[in-house]
Symmetry: C2
Subunit: 351 residues, 2 copies
């Protein structure tokens, strides 16, 4: 893995970083004036400000925000927990969140739970130690202690990507079960009757589990007698696993006409496996995914999926959170809000 290491001699250790006092002394003002000059919006004589900025420049001074936030009781942090940083859906949500925070002076503290509520609990605690001004979590499933920590944190809490039965406070999400059911009904409308579901073995990915539940519910509601569920591995689900799963599926239920995969990544893996085995898609078997990843629009054939507006989930959460923070600051009581984001079946070539 590591090819070679090159070491160079060390240089002298530098002296302690300059503080605001150093800047104030050099500019011949008080620290308070420096503090004002460094924020925008404060009324400062232009000459004073230039003098201060010069001192800042000369000394290479950088404001210490941890000290500032101790005093102002505003850390400028917003915490967000997502299951995985390597999943482009959640990465999009993080981007949407980050974008809506840009300009507010709030910085995102990102953590990933690896689809584990235990790891989430630990992360919640370590995040709260940083005194974030709001916290965004993925999903509505938490450990009892995690839930308690969130509820007692005294900051806006937003659960995303789901519609929890008893939300902690705010929610930005959609029903994964309903979205999945909608996909089943779409396939049914296209004439497919023997529809299977491919997902993970565990319920660690609660959204995946909800999608499976939605599938089973819809299949039953449509009077399609048998539900066919193939389970494979633990999240994060990979393309490769999707390929293995579809092979197992066809082996187990050769009559199957369509397969819904828990995400586009596994759908793509399934699609490619079909191509390798010369099973025509959608003729021999139709394939649908979930999430509208870039790959499902780019593959050949392109993959039918459910578009879930990942970016918007993050973006709306960010805006909601800004409103909530501002409201609490102004002493207003902020009502709990649930924002239901849109989703839509996107028909493509694979079905």
């Amino acid at each position: 893995m590591i090819l070679k290491k090159i070491k160079e001699p060390a240089i002298a250790i530098r002296s302690a970083a300059p503080t605001m006092i150093d800047v104030a002394t050099r500019a011949g003002v008080s620290t308070m004036t420096v503090s004002r000059a460094l924020r925008d919006g404060a009324s400062i004589a232009e000459a004073t400000r230039t003098r201060i900025m010069k001192a800042v420049e000369d000394l290479g001074y950088v404001l210490d925000q941890s000290a500032g936030s101790l005093s102002s009781k505003r850390t400028g942090f917003v915490a967000a927990l997502i299951p995985s940083i390597n999943n482009s859906n959640f990465a999009d949500t993080a981007r949407g969140l980050s974008d809506s925070l840009a300009g507010s002076g709030l910085q995102l503290l990102l953590g990933y739970t690896d689809y584990s509520v235990e790891k989430e609990e630990r992360l919640i605690e370590s995040m709260l130690r940083r005194r974030p001004e709001a916290i965004v979590v993925t999903g509505g499933s938490h450990t009892p202690r995690g839930r308690k920590l969130l509820a007692q944190a005294g900051i806006p809490v937003i659960e995303t990507w789901d519609l929890p039965k008893s939300p902690i406070r705010h929610v930005v999400g959609f029903s994964n079960a309903e979205a999945s059911a909608k996909l089943v009904r779409y396939l049914h409308g296209k004439g497919y009757r023997k529809i299977a579901f491919i997902g993970g073995t565990t319920n660690r990915d609660t959204r995946g589990a909800d999608r499976r539940a939605g599938y089973e519910h819809a299949v039953a509601a449509l009077g399609l007698k048998d539900s066919r569920v193939i389970s494979f591995g633990t999240p994060p689900i990979s393309m490769k696993q999707g390929g293995e799963a579809i092979a197992r599926l066809i082996e187990q239920w050769p009559e199957v006409e369509a397969a819904i995969c828990v995400s586009d990544l596994s759908a793509f893996g399934a699609l490619v496996e079909c191509q390798r085995r010369k099973w025509a898609v959608p003729k021999r078997i139709a394939i649908a995914g979930f999430g509208d990843f870039e790959i499902s629009s780019c593959s050949y054939p392109s993959i039918t999926t459910v578009g879930v507006h990942c970016y918007d989930i993050g973006n709306s959460a960010g805006e909601l959170l800004l409103r909530a923070i501002e409201g609490e600051r102004a002493g207003r009581s902020v009502p709990a809000e649930t924002i239901i984001t849109e989703y839509a079946v996107i028909p493509r070539e694979s079905t």
Copy 2:
């Protein structure tokens, strides 16, 4: 005249979060003892500790780390800047970094530059305000001020994903130009002579620019007279753009035999476009990518690429940074280190 502020009794309804004083009072000890109990390794009577923990539990107390770090001068932050959170290569690096930090008590402060050195400069400054104990950046290109900020920060600086000519301090990376050249030589060895390069129009993505430079250098060195470069769009490069680019390539230089794409994502887009247009890959045209994304091993045909150990870059950076932090704490002078990570051409079906 003296204004007297009367403090409300502790029994008052307090919406404010409990502090260590509250815990200490409740447990009948001093704050110092609480502080010790909350860290591991301190010598505390077991009975005292249990009493304190009970008080913590009862009050729902959570340590305030921003206050702690002001006093201890250790924030527990490590800053990392990556170009994009939506690129699985950089997400892998972030994961590697985060994993190597787990257990050290250090928390990752992630920022993404959107491939812009100007945005990077702003991020460097806002990160430094948080007084991270080390900072990891992607690449060796920075604005002059960004570079100066990094150099003067007084903390370990690690540049990754590249081998800068004059590094700021530590480096964990590889030569993108050489890796790209190696891919050219591999294709040459397979008999290809008319080799093209597909990349972005700008030099914003400096790693992409290096790969193009490496391509041109290798093509010249091998005596392949013409270099064929197709440029499209700005980073982040998408699959779709790869598809458009290959169409333009074939139109412009119909004789072309092989195309190297700046990343696997554009390579995949190119591959799919060829399939749509019934251009056999690799028969009509061979395609190679860069980065060994999951998709290049999963697609059909699978895509020849350069594997670059993204996770290891982050992981090694994390370990290096832990050594450096520990060294500086111990007063040792830490020599500048350059860790060159491996890369390898991974031959697959597309060439």
